[in-house]
């Protein structure tokens, strides 16, 4: 996901961002939340057009970050996962692993290389509206997909006897552990903190453009690393299944 487009949408270079005063920065975000002309406006106009009472986030933005209505669905998926493991059903394990793994890889690549560039070409208010609604859902969807994919993948490896394969074939499995580890480090160390910080900032009556801009630069880095890791996952998985 590339909410960093928000900053690009504001028409701010890095140098310009760091030279803004707090009030200027807040005014710019306020403008992008309320008008279509934030990127090109003179700074004084921007601030003048953004009185505090106008830029308060919409009602739905004031609720919990996590979409609570999605939790029962997550619980149902996890219950299905437990049932598949307990029954040791090859079909169920295969179904969950392939479907969730495909979704995980596809969503990662789609967000990084399709939605991100598309967002950069959208109208500013549309970008912000999409980011506000999409990112909370991603906070539920992606961890669920990851949990199901990894757990069923391990069970399938045990089922097919991949765990007792000798080296050097076993290295393919070890490589998959390394890929998952790298993705986890990037997600927990960089991506999720920035994700949540931006969401929290966007929910404030006066979001801080300077802070959002700085956090958003991390997404460029993570999109590249995640893309490489997902391609590596495809290579490893297709190699293992064609032994």
């Amino acid at each position: 996901m590339d909410p960093g487009a928000l900053v690009l949408a504001m028409g701010l270079s890095r140098r310009r961002l760091t030279s803004l005063t707090p009030d200027e920065g807040r005014g710019i975000v306020a403008s992008t939340l309320t008008t279509n002309e934030g990127a090109g406006s003179a700074m004084s106009d921007v601030i003048a057009k953004a009185p505090p009472e106008v830029v308060a986030p919409p009602r739905e933005a004031a609720g919990p970050i996590i979409p609570v209505r999605g939790l029962p669905i997550v619980a149902a998926v996890i219950a299905g996962l437990v049932a598949a493991i307990a029954s040791n059903s090859l079909w169920a394990l295969n179904f969950l692993h392939v479907s969730c793994g495909a979704l995980w890889t596809a969503i990662d690549l789609f967000m990084g290389f399709v939605i991100g560039p598309t967002l950069a070409r959208m109208e500013v208010p549309a970008r912000i509206a999409l980011t506000r609604r999409l990112m909370p859902q991603m906070l539920l969807i992606m961890p669920t997909l990851v949990l199901v994919t990894l757990t069923t993948g391990w069970q399938l490896a045990r089922y097919f006897g991949y765990l007792v394969l000798p080296y050097p074939q076993r290295w393919w499995l070890v490589a998959s552990y390394i890929v998952v580890g790298v993705m986890a480090i990037v997600a927990y160390g960089v991506l999720e903190p920035a994700n949540i910080s931006v969401l929290l900032e966007l929910r404030k009556p006066r979001p801080n453009a300077l802070l959002i801009g700085r956090l958003m630069r991390r997404f460029i880095f993570t999109a590249g690393v995640t893309g490489v890791m997902q391609v590596a996952t495809l290579v490893i998985m297709t190699r293992i299944t064609t032994w």
Partner: protein, 144 residues
């Protein structure tokens, strides 16, 4: 904001968040890496018994780094503790679900008791590491 990021920020300065290189983040990331290495070494041998010395070593290192991170965290002044806990508790729910599922899988696979115990401890460490890391990384940018 002052250069260290740990003190009270100046109200009239442009605020870019906490831009300092925090030892908390360094320790937490190193702790997570050590936890992953500890589990990874065991996983690379399963279902055969793994040599536990390296795994235990990484486990101890992970615990020490977590303790160090918590000390650094508790020494911070002007920190948004309310936001930290608000974020960390949701992430903790997530990591506990991951941990519970992993332990369930290893138990159902008949993993040897000693190996299982080490993996459970490492996974619990990671389950604490991750909420603290994400909670801190979010709350550090809150202007207090």
């Amino acid at each position: 904001m002052n250069p260290s990021g740990a003190g009270a920020p100046e109200a009239d300065e442009p605020y870019l968040g906490d831009t300092s290189r925090s030892p908390v983040v360094g320790c937490m990331l190193a702790s997570i890496v050590c936890a992953f290495l500890s589990v990874g070494i065991i996983a690379a041998y399963l279902p055969r018994p793994a040599p536990l010395s390296w795994s235990v070593g990484f486990l101890v290192a992970s615990a020490a780094l977590l303790a160090g991170a918590l000390v650094f965290l508790l020494r911070r002044r002007h920190f948004a503790w309310r936001l930290f806990f608000a974020v960390a508790r949701w992430v903790l729910v997530l990591t506990l679900v991951f941990t519970a599922m992993a332990v369930y899988v290893f138990v159902s696979d008949g993993t040897p008791a000693t190996t299982l115990a080490i993996m459970a401890v490492v996974l619990l460490l990671a389950a604490v590491d991750i909420p603290v890391l994400i909670g801190f990384s979010v709350a550090r940018h809150e202007r207090t």
